[in-house]
Symmetry: C2
Subunit: 225 residues, 2 copies
């Protein structure tokens, strides 16, 4: 029955996470059914793209009726692996670490912050969110003795590689990396980088592009106000 599932392309995974977020908002507002066209419009995609993506989930939805919101949510979560909860530790409690410790979205998606670490002895023992900050030296024994799935890395660039090596030795298999330095993935460690300056660069590029398009003379509207 359980046919091995082929890996879904990264771009599709990204869109599935977006659909999931929309669907969860609909579920909270009590909506029971949704059509692919509605999702497409909300997210600025085209309908056939959405339908192709959702076909990765196997048999969901009914011709003419659309999708049951609850069913589609569950199917996406199953494929993404977020139908279970993940234990996450947070390493590096500067400004960004503090912000992340209070970020509600993680918990809503099944990511449970179970510990926070910092190398600064002044910070050890302080509260951050509901957690008490532990010394970075306790990281390896903690991860070995407790079920930890993922780590969020919010340390300075200069510490990032050594902390990542520590995490890998302890058996953490995924790192969400906020440090502004590349940490290469390897066979037993997957690293997902989040570089906020890159996001601004992507935005800047899109803005430049859309201005070039709108400066095309034939597109200039007549202004009469």
């Amino acid at each position: 029955m359980a046919k091995p599932r082929a890996a879904i392309p990264a771009a599709t995974v990204s869109r599935l996470t977006l659909y999931l977020r929309e669907l969860q908002q609909m579920e909270r507002s009590g909506t029971s059914h949704v059509r692919s066209g509605w999702l497409a419009e909300r997210l600025g995609l085209n309908d056939s793209q959405v339908r192709r993506d959702l076909s990765c989930l196997g048999q969901v939805g009914q011709r003419g009726v659309g999708y049951r919101v609850h069913e589609l949510t569950a199917a996406i979560q199953r494929v993404l692996g977020t139908d279970r909860s993940w234990n996450v530790i947070l390493v590096g409690i500067g400004n960004l670490g503090r912000a992340l410790s209070k970020y509600r979205g993680f918990d809503q998606q099944g990511f449970r912050l179970v510990a926070a670490f910092d190398s600064d002895p002044e910070k050890v023992g302080d509260q951050v969110g509901t957690l008490s900050i532990k010394d970075l030296n306790e990281l390896e024994p903690f991860v070995v003795s407790q079920p930890v799935d993922l780590a969020i890395l919010a340390v300075p660039a200069s510490e990032a590689l050594s902390v990542a090596a520590k995490l890998q030795r302890a058996g953490v298999s995924g790192i969400l990396n906020f440090a502004p330095i590349v940490i290469p993935s390897n066979e037993s460690l997957t690293v997902q980088p989040v570089d906020l300056a890159l996001e601004l660069q992507r935005l800047a590029y899109s803005v430049v592009q859309s201005k070039q398009e709108s400066h095309d003379p034939k597109d200039l509207p007549d202004e009469d106000g």
Copy 2:
């Protein structure tokens, strides 16, 4: 001479921003030349992909010699639009806003934070980084009177749409959105979403995938230590 440039696909833009970051690190460390293969290895891509991406930049690099780091950096910045500086305002000074206000990477990439806004009268007048927090009501007059290119939105979901509408009315053409809600782009406004829970979901999916691969029995290594 200036042939109109076709829009570069989003995935290529993403990789160009990664190359740029590597190149800037190399420039700081005094390296003068780089080969596409080195960039490929650093970033876990294949060489032909990197060469194809760099060909979007026009004539750069020399067969057998590779690329001059400085020249390649400049060419990528020109294409991305980050060879100029961008004035950015920050809206919403909670934990995340505070972290963002101190994020060094923005300035290094030519993104200059010129003002910070919050709707909480208790916060108005406080310092955040080098800025004094302004009242959200001053946002429109500020943007109209000063050159502002982009906004970083770090307000709660409940306020995000109304603040985005304010920004658009004032003439801001790009928003980097951290609020956990979809703000649709339109003709005169480009929205780049950053949802940190989605990043964790993508990471979780990659981890599940790589575990499935490594659990394939034929791949299990013999352990003798």
